[in-house]
Symmetry: C2
Subunit: 146 residues, 2 copies
């Protein structure tokens, strides 16, 4: 939905990076799935278009796209390292703990809190990271009245 090939190509070229089929394909895959994906899952999906890609390329690409702010790393409670398309701006994620659905939300009610904390701790706050976990509408159904 947010995906705009032209914008992406622009972003890559701005930094002197090349615009390859693999990079566009990884981004497209992430953009088309509402769930977060592991590198392995991204590989499988990308291979439907580009059968010869390797896992190493997927990792290299995911890192690059994360640096560009185009994909977001999602950390689950247990393991880590799954990926999802990132929309622009300051956003956080709501993640379904059953099916993995990722919903982003933009509100950030933390500014007041960070100021208080900064004053008390004498930290210079650089950023924060917030994820909410829960059951999405469809997954609530399967669990009766939770």
């Amino acid at each position: 939905m947010e995906y705009d090939e032209g914008r992406v190509m622009g972003l890559l070229r701005q930094r002197g990076l090349r615009c390859t089929a693999q990079r566009l394909a990884v981004l497209k895959v992430l953009d088309e799935t509402p769930h977060h994906l592991s590198a392995q899952e991204v590989l499988s999906a990308v291979r439907q278009d580009l059968p010869r890609v390797g896992l190493a390329t997927i990792y290299r690409t995911l890192e690059l796209l994360a640096d560009l702010g185009l994909v977001a790393r999602v950390h689950l409670v247990d393991g880590c390292h799954r990926y999802t398309a990132a929309s622009s701006g300051h956003r956080h994620q709501l993640i379904c703990s059953r099916c993995g659905l990722v919903v982003e939300f933009g509100e950030c009610a933390l500014s007041g809190l960070t100021e208080t904390i900064a004053r008390r701790t004498e930290f210079a706050i650089e950023g924060h990271w917030l994820q909410l976990y829960g059951r999405c509408r469809d997954c609530r159904r399967g669990v009766a009245l939770a």
Copy 2:
């Protein structure tokens, strides 16, 4: 500071778990360092007292202590899986991005936000996870006026 051997032993016994030198040592190490530590680093520290411990024991112990709520997993922006002593109650962490110092804070200004999000997304929110990043007082000095 928070560390109370008697309390820990009680917690272990309550669950039918045994109170071993390794478990106490891991907890003590985490409690004595204000930084977060990797499993490897915990191993080195514990070996000063118990030279024969193995990494597997460290992993098993860290997981067990995390389940008991005595240690908290810290996830950094890049990699993951570092550990630090956890105080009780609902707390979040402020982490120095330069030296790794971990400061916990208890305020949770998120309740209002979670309600709004829950209503709009139809998610049943189960929990959240918040970490703040910044430079601690000492590390700010080294970087002139940030």
